[in-house]
Symmetry: C2
Subunit: 253 residues, 2 copies
């Protein structure tokens, strides 16, 4: 970043400053983890007020290109999607093998952890709808926060009709080898398939906190419905840190 740069009229100053910094990042002049010029430096370089350079830095943060660290500086953000979920994770071989399904694509040397809370509730309308049960029907809800190496990755809330789950390991925090899906098969609910609906949006403040999301990182939401041949048996609402995930799907024509 050269000394004393001039700004052209017509385009807002903060956007021009953001443009220059963005170009430096895209070109590689500023690499992953590098510190951007400080606010003081930018004020001197461009001859503008502090709030103006702050606006420019905010733009980059909301684009997910930079993160501010209080007392240290603003840094180029580095993406590192170290996990990927593949279709195979929902194969019977996977959860039939006794491995926890969600560990399917976790490398062996990673530390996987989860907090879990199991409750019994009345189903919200959208959940009841997807489970094809009357609104307000009792459901068992398994809420989890999954982390790998201490980094929170995803929130999930699995809903199953209470009629199916109560009195079984599915209503316990630890469902045992193979998890919920293995238990469902044992209970006489052979799974025929899954449907996942995928969307993306910005996180709520709560989600940002729980997933330790920096500014400018969206979440991917997945609603997965597990079916037997004649009825849906589980609706899982999943919210994942989009920075750490690549979802992979295979499709046959």
């Amino acid at each position: 970043m050269a000394r004393s740069r001039s700004l052209k009229p017509g385009r807002p100053a903060y956007q021009q400053i953001a443009d220059e910094l963005r170009a430096s990042i895209r070109s590689g002049e500023l690499g992953d983890g590098d510190r951007l010029p400080s606010e003081t430096e930018l004020i001197e370089t461009f001859g503008v007020a502090r709030m103006t350079v702050r606006a420019a830095l905010q733009v980059l943060q909301h684009e997910g290109l930079a993160v501010a660290e209080h007392g240290r500086g603003v840094f180029v953000r580095h993406r590192r999607p170290f996990r990927r979920r593949s279709v195979q994770r929902l194969s019977r071989a996977q959860w039939g093998s006794g491995r926890a399904m969600w560990e399917a694509d976790t490398a062996e040397d990673r530390t996987v952890s989860a907090t879990i809370e199991v409750t019994r509730e009345r189903a919200a309308d959208d959940i009841a709808d997807r489970l094809r049960v009357p609104p307000g029907t009792d459901v068992v809800v398994r809420r989890r926060l999954h982390s790998v190496d201490g980094q929170p990755l995803q929130l999930s809330a699995a809903h199953l009709p209470a009629e199916i789950a109560v009195g079984t390991p599915i209503a316990e925090p630890d469902t045992g080898p193979g998890g919920t899906y293995a238990r469902l098969e044992e209970l006489g609910y052979p799974l025929e398939g899954f449907v996942e609906e995928v969307q993306a949006r910005m996180p709520s403040p709560d989600e940002a906190r729980l997933l330790a999301l920096p500014t400018g990182v969206p979440v991917i939401t997945i609603v997965r419905v597990a079916h037997t041949s004649d009825r849906p048996v589980e609706v899982n609402e999943i919210v994942v840190n989009s920075d750490l995930y690549v979802l992979e799907y295979q499709i046959r024509p």
Copy 2:
């Protein structure tokens, strides 16, 4: 929003104001499309400076909850994912039928349009990698911007080895009934399957402009690889407006 509300110390004022407005939106007190209190009103209500209420309003905009319209006000944003892409759109029945594949899930009464540009380029490293050809190999690139009812929905850039595509309708703007995939089959490349890698991130300024994305709306990126039994034949990089899409995937165990 009651008159003259007090702010508690400890939490920044702009966040408390954002909290109150967010709660009004979540509770339904402020519904889709409703106007939020103006900056002037918020200044009077909370007794703070203008930049403070603007910071609060920016928070909501970056969360995707509100949009500002210059000269009119700040409004509750309404999500309307009016399209959904399903697995069936990649079924042979779909593109074998002569319908353009991407129209699979478009309602009949919508106006679908696309701009297209076909070029011949040397493959970038990641594309070459996925096509399993040497870096710099010639590829035909079909870049499109799809819109429905004038609303831009997605950008796509389909890359095919020039060796396969040149001299065929695939290298023409109009590929004919059934599109690229129908032509590939006719040319002796029967498709065995597709793999899609899905991620989400904030858009670049260019993407935000082309897709007419408001502040706080991420994009979903899809990299789709189409395979024959022995080689990948197309890599399609897709960027979609996450506000208008629900991706649907079916998985069999």
